[in-house]
Every structure is written in structure tokens, then in C-alpha cells.
């Protein structure tokens, strides 16, 4: 029930954000999108908090719970970006992506399960939270890169004069968001390795989940390096940001459902 309300709230917020982005001078639409997003986010926060209280442990121990957390963090990251850089268009992507993530929870059991012995560790808090903060920053970067590519295509036909400046802005914003997410992904991988050493006796097992996280880390490392090569800025960087987010999604879902992994419980 609550998840359904959240999905509707985020879809509404996403549509308002896109409209506010299209009608750049409409302050009413801008504030309406901000208000709807904040209200939905507050409800979302309460849902996570209540689940944590009921479960008696941090509410990010399985795919169902991490989907809810992932959505929450994406919107938080979006609002932080909005406060600093006033990019309401990203809210459209954030709203739609989060609504989709929350819709996926309907395929999973919402039952609160007690923690498996291997999950009973303080590292759970840092490992999962930091990894998902990183993923969320990459999700917002995905929105920024997608906007870059859309504006690039649409701008050519519209004939507007400030398209290049807007493109440069979104190119730079994608890079900044990746630069923010990258340390958190690094922290997530490092804490995961330390936890693995405490739990499984090896800090690196080349387990599919670990390997996919490493691939994601490398792709975003390439993204960051690309800033130093002029020809690789812009479109190539935007496409790589999209590909990077695809690897995030595969690391998150693909490994859980398609590959045999030590992280099977995730």
C-alpha cells in the first residue's frame, strides 16, 4: 500500500520536474515539483525508519529493502544536486527511475527476515550504505548524461543559441556526480573486502558480485580519467556514464538473480 503511494508520488514528482525543466521560467512548476518530491521523500523516509524499527536491524539486508533504500538515496542525492546546481530536469529522471525501482519490489517478498549469521556484522551498515550512496550518485549522473544526449539531439533541431553552454554544463555535472559517487563506491568495495576477510577468510574471492563491483569501479575510473582528454569529453563521456549505470544495475540485480555468488542472500 505504502509502496504504491510512493510510486504514484514519485511519478507525479517526475512529471512535474520534466515540465518545470521544459518551462524554465515557471516558478510555480518548479516549486510544485520540489514540494511533491519532498513530501514523497518524507513518507519514504518514514517507511524505511518504520521497517528498521520493526526489524530490529538496519533495513537494507535483502533486495527488497535495498531497492527501497536505493530509491530513497537517489532522491536525496537529487535534492542535494538541486540545492547546489539548480538542475530540476534531473528530478524527472530521478522520479521515474525511483518509481520503477519501487515497482520492482512487488516481485519480491516484503517479509522481514531475521539476519543470517554471516550478515550479523557492523560492516553491514557501512558496506551497504556506502555502496548505495555511490550507486545513487551514479543514478543521478545517468540522468544528467541522458539529458546531455537528449539536449544534444533536440538542440540541433531547435536552433537555440545556448545549447553548447547547456551541453557543457551537463557534461560537467555528469562528471561531478561521478566524482562524488566514486569515493562511496570505493568505500563500499573496501569495507566489503574487509568484511569478507572477517567472514570468509579472504578479502577478495573473485566472486561474481565482487568482480562486477570491480568492473563498475573501473568503468567509473575511466569516466574520471576521460576528463583529461578533450576529445573524450561530451558525448563519449555521456555514453560511458550510461554504460556505467548499466553495470551498476547488473551488479545489483544481475548477479543476484543470474550468477551463483557468495552474495546470494543479497
Amino acid at each position: 500500500m505504502m509502496t504504491g503511494i510512493l510510486i504514484l508520488g514519485y511519478l507525479f514528482f517526475g512529471i512535474l520536474s520534466f515540465l518545470a525543466f521544459a518551462a524554465t521560467r515557471s516558478k510555480v512548476l518548479f516549486y510544485a515539483s520540489v514540494l511533491s518530491g519532498l513530501v514523497t521523500l518524507a513518507v519514504h523516509g518514514v517507511v524505511i525508519f518504520k521497517r528498521g524499527i520493526t526489524a530490529g536491524h538496519v533495513p537494507w539486508t535483502n533486495t527488497y529493502e535495498t531497492l527501497i533504500l536505493f530509491g530513497f538515496l537517489i532522491i536525496v542525492l537529487y535534492f542535494l544536486t538541486l540545492i547546489r546546481y539548480r538542475t530540476v530536469g534531473l528530478g524527472g529522471f530521478a522520479g521515474v527511475v525511483v518509481a520503477f525501482l519501487l515497482a520492482l519490489t512487488s516481485l519480491l517478498s516484503p517479509e522481514i527476515e531475521p539476519l543470517l549469521p554471516s550478515l550479523k556484522s557492523n560492516w553491514l551498515l557501512f558496506h551497504v550504505l556506502s555502496a548505495f550512496i555511490g550507486y545513487s550518485a551514479f543514478a543521478v549522473a545517468f540522468g544528467s548524461a541522458a539529458l546531455f544526449l537528449i539536449i544534444d539531439v533536440v538542440g540541433k533541431f531547435s536552433g537555440k543559441t545556448n545549447v553548447d553552454a547547456t551541453l557543457a554544463y551537463f557534461d560537467w555535472l555528469t562528471y561531478r556526480l561521478i566524482a562524488i559517487g566514486f569515493p562511496f563506491l570505493t568505500l563500499g568495495i573496501a569495507t566489503g573486502a574487509i568484511w569478507a576477510n572477517e567472514s570468509w577468510g579472504r578479502y577478495w574471492n573473485w566472486d561474481p558480485k565482487e568482480t562486477c563491483a570491480f568492473i563498475t569501479w573501473l568503468i567509473y575510473a575511466i569516466c574520471l580519467h576521460m576528463r583529461n582528454v578533450d576529445e573524450l569529453k561530451g558525448k563519449p563521456a555521456a555514453w560511458l556514464a550510461l554504460f556505467g549505470f548499466a553495470t551498476v544495475i547488473f551488479t545489483y540485480f544481475g548477479v543476484n538473480f543470474w550468477l551463483a555468488s557468495l552474495h546470494a542472500y543479497a
Binding site: L116, S118, A190, W200, W206, N228
Partner: protein, 443 residues
């Protein structure tokens, strides 16, 4: 030659290409292990010389870069504000025109401007003071220059840790039965598994913890007990012990045959052992044990959990005893005997004295690479956070008399920065703050 080598290890394009190749190798390594390409399994790529060569190139390249950048940061003087080397953007210029008011002297106003810049967290220094021009430097977040060397050095440390682990680590899996003592030579200790327990959550079927109660005797003859739990490894004789998995063995049980509600005969049996009864001309065999018997929705017998809450054994009855095929198979419980309303000679079974013994799966590890890898992680984390969040900003400025007499003109030039748009905003705020200071000074 030396120059070319340096170019190879410093080239960002080659580094990106190698990173991309490592990505491709890693993608190949995640393919399911039953796929065999060119006679090697996907996972084996992580031990292949080609993969090691790629990592080796990255290690040398990153180490080189870390040294160069460290040297550059260390050689930077506190008041050296030469623009950073990256080519992020063109410098920003912010011009502020201020009425001179009663401030009068250029120098005193210049000092006030420096105070404003310092209020924004900059270290600011006047460079050239004259009657007609006052120039200054300002910078902040110089710690940010350490980000890149730390990241690259951290990655090299992690790779070095991985190499040490690959070459010198000793990781073994051990299975100890309850009551069994194992002499672990390289831990210089004898370890006995006194008891293994699966601790369940209160009134639930899920396990909360697996605990191996170990009795340890070291080479000095000291004896002590330790509980080994999941996520709580023990260090014994320089070797780390990790609680991993467990197994249950069923050494045997006693099958009791009943007729008309009365016991006829009890026969000790091992799993899979076929024995004839003495009182009745049949043979029995226990094929399967379910610890927590239940009937599934599909109508099949299955175990709800791995815990012995409702144990049942599948008994095959051979009549006559030599027959190859079982005459019937029945699920038998420890305390249930069915009674027909009409007395018949058909045999019923129960079982008792079900012996079960746990084996604890323990991992032993001596890994000299851990310290290197952990140090590398620390550098990586520090470096990435510094790079991502502490962005150096530097500006130079000049205060001049405006062509319109009685006014000053401040020209601020922001040096290229990663956070271009944030910096632009700060420069605008600085300009506004300078206007306010003038007004305060004038009043």
C-alpha cells in the same frame, strides 16, 4: 628509450585502454564456470599471465604517477598559486567596480579585500602593493592536491597485497567432527571440537549463529577454550580461524518393529545398511533422513529446516529379505505407531537412538597480503574522498583605480578548477561581499 618508456607509463590514453582491457577480462571472468573457452575456465583468467601483465602495467604506471604527483605537491610553496595543470576550463574573470568613498588609500582597501577573501576560507597574500595597483593571490583546499597521488598509491598497495596473497597466503578448509582433535602444525596448536551448535532465533526456525566450542592446546602446553562464531574469527598461533559451514552426519539409529501395537524387535542400523529381522522374514534398510519432516504443496516429503525438530526416516521393507526391489517404503517417526481398528499382522515401525554428529567447517588462513591490501584500501578511500570533495581553488586578483575617478576596480581571476560552476558562484558571491565591505567601510 627512457623518454619513450616514461611516455608509455604516463599516457592517460594507454592507461584508459588498459583499464578497459581489465574490464573485458573481468567480464569474461564472471561467466559461469561450466563454460569452457579454449580449454580454460572463465575464472582462471584472473590467474593468467596476460591478466597479471595488465595489472602489472597499471601498478607501474600508477606508482610512477603517484611519485610524480607527490613530488609536485611537496615542491609546491605555500604562496605558490600557479594554476593547476588540468585543462578543465578557461580562467574565470569577475570584475567588481566599487566607489572609493572615504576609504581613500588603495592599500587599506586592498587589505580589506583580503579579509573578505579569507572569510571564504582562502589563504590570501598580497603580492604587489603600489599607489596605483594592489595585486594578490588566494587559494584554499590545497589538501585536494593529495587526492590523486593517494588514489594511485592506494591502488598499487592493493595490487601489492593481492600479489603477496597470491604468492604466499595459505588458506585451507578444515572439517572437524564433534569430539575430534586436529593437530594444526602451522598454527602450532591442537584443536578439539568439543561441540557445535546452531543457535536459532527465539521461536523461529532461522539460525542466529553457528558456534564451534573449541578446546585448544598450544605448543607451550597451555589449554583454553574458545567459541568460534561466524564473523568473529580467532587468531591462534598466527593463523586466523573462521567459522564457515557445517554438516550433520547420521552414524546410526535403532529401528523398532511393532505388530498389533507391541514391539517385536529392535535392530540397530546404519544409513544405507540392509539388515534382516530375526523374528519376521523381512529385511529393512534406512535410505534417507529428514530432520524436519513436512509434506510440500506438491505432496512430496521434504524438510522444512535443517534442524531436528520433526525427524523422520525412510524405511525400505524387503519381503522376502533377498528380494532386489523393496516391497514398500514408509516414512517412520520416533514416537508414532499407527493402530488399525481391525487388528492385522502388518508391521509398523518407529525409531529411537538417532545418533547425529556435527562436523564444523572451519577455514584457516595465513595471509601476509592483508596488511598491504588494508593499507591500500585506506589510501584509496582517503584519496577518492579528497579528490571528490576537496577541490583546490585558487585565484589571483588585482585592485586598480577605475578610469572614472574616485572608484576602484577589482579584477578577480579564478584558476581552472574541477568544480567550475561552484567556483563561478563563489566568485560572484565574493564580488557581492566586496561591495558590501566597501559600504560598511564607507559608513
Amino acid at each position: 628509450m627512457q623518454q619513450k618508456l616514461r611516455q608509455v607509463f604516463q599516457s592517460i590514453r594507454i592507461a584508459n585502454t588498459v583499464l578497459f582491457l581489465v574490464v573485458l577480462c573481468a567480464i569474461f571472468g564472471t561467466l559461469p564456470p561450466d563454460l569452457n573457452f579454449l580449454s580454460f575456465t572463465p575464472q582462471s583468467i584472473f590467474r593468467s599471465p596476460w591478466f597479471c601483465l595488465l595489472l602489472g602495467y597499471l601498478a607501474v604506471s600508477m606508482l610512477w604517477l603517484a611519485f610524480i604527483r607527490t613530488a609536485r605537491v611537496l615542491s609546491r610553496q605555500p604562496n605558490d598559486f600557479s594554476p593547476p595543470s588540468n585543462r578543465e576550463s578557461l580562467p574565470f574573470i569577475q570584475e567588481v567596480v566599487l566607489p572609493a568613498g572615504r576609504c581613500g588609500r588603495l592599500n587599506s582597501f586592498g587589505n580589506a579585500v583580503l579579509q573578505v577573501i579569507k572569510a571564504y576560507g582562502y589563504r590570501a597574500f598580497a603580492q604587489n602593493k603600489s599607489e596605483s595597483e594592489y595585486s594578490f593571490y588566494a587559494a584554499k583546499n590545497s589538501l585536494g592536491y593529495w587526492g590523486s597521488p593517494l588514489v594511485h598509491f592506494g591502488f598499487v598497495m592493493v595490487l601489492a597485497g593481492g600479489l603477496l596473497t597470491f604468492l604466499f597466503s595459505d588458506v585451507r578448509d578444515l572439517s572437524i567432527r564433534e569430539g575430534e582433535t586436529v593437530d594444526i602444525v602451522y598454527a602450532q596448536a591442537k584443536v578439539k571440537l568439543e561441540k557445535f551448535s546452531v543457535v536459532l532465533y527465539p521461536s523461529r526456525l532461522e539460525p542466529e549463529q553457528y558456534v564451534s566450542r573449541l578446546l585448544i592446546r598450544d605448543k607451550e602446553g597451555r589449554v583454553w577454550r574458545e567459541d568460534l562464531k561466524v564473523n568473529h574469527p580467532l587468531m591462534i598461533g598466527g593463523t586466523k580461524f573462521f567459522q564457515m559451514r557445517y554438516q550433520i552426519e547420521i552414524p546410526g539409529l535403532e529401528l523398532v518393529a511393532y505388530r498389533q501395537g507391541l514391539p517385536v524387535e529392535a535392530v540397530p542400523l546404519k544409513l544405507g545398511e540392509r539388515k534382516p529381522l530375526e523374528q519376521v522374514p523381512i529385511a529393512v534398510e534406512v535410505k534417507e533422513v529428514l530432520p524436519d519432516f513436512a509434506i510440500s504443496a506438491a505432496g512430496k516429503a521434504e524438510s522444512r529446516s535443517p534442524y531436528f525438530r520433526n525427524p523422520a526416516v525412510l524405511v525400505s521393507v524387503y519381503d522376502p529379505p533377498q528380494s532386489a526391489v523393496a516391497a514398500k517404503k514408509v516414512w517412520v517417526f520416533p514416537d508414532l505407531v499407527s493402530h488399525d481398528s481391525q487388528k492385522s499382522d502388518e508391521l509398523q515401525f518407529t525409531f529411537r537412538k538417532l545418533k547425529k554428529r556435527y562436523s564444523s567447517g572451519i577455514k584457516l588462513s595465513r595471509d601476509p597480503g592483508v596488511l598491504f591490501a588494508y593499507s591500500g584500501f585506506l589510501f584509496l578511500i582517503l584519496g577518492t574522498f579528497i579528490s571528490g570533495f576537496i577541490i583546490p581553488r585558487a585565484l589571483t586578483g588585482c585592485l586598480r583605480l577605475h578610469p572614472d575617478q574616485g572608484k576602484f576596480m577589482i579584477e578577480i581571476l579564478g584558476h581552472p578548477a574541477k568544480d567550475r560552476y561552484g567556483f563561478e558562484r563563489e566568485l560572484k558571491a565574493l564580488g557581492n561581499a566586496m561591495t558590501r565591505i566597501k559600504l560598511e567601510a564607507a559608513s
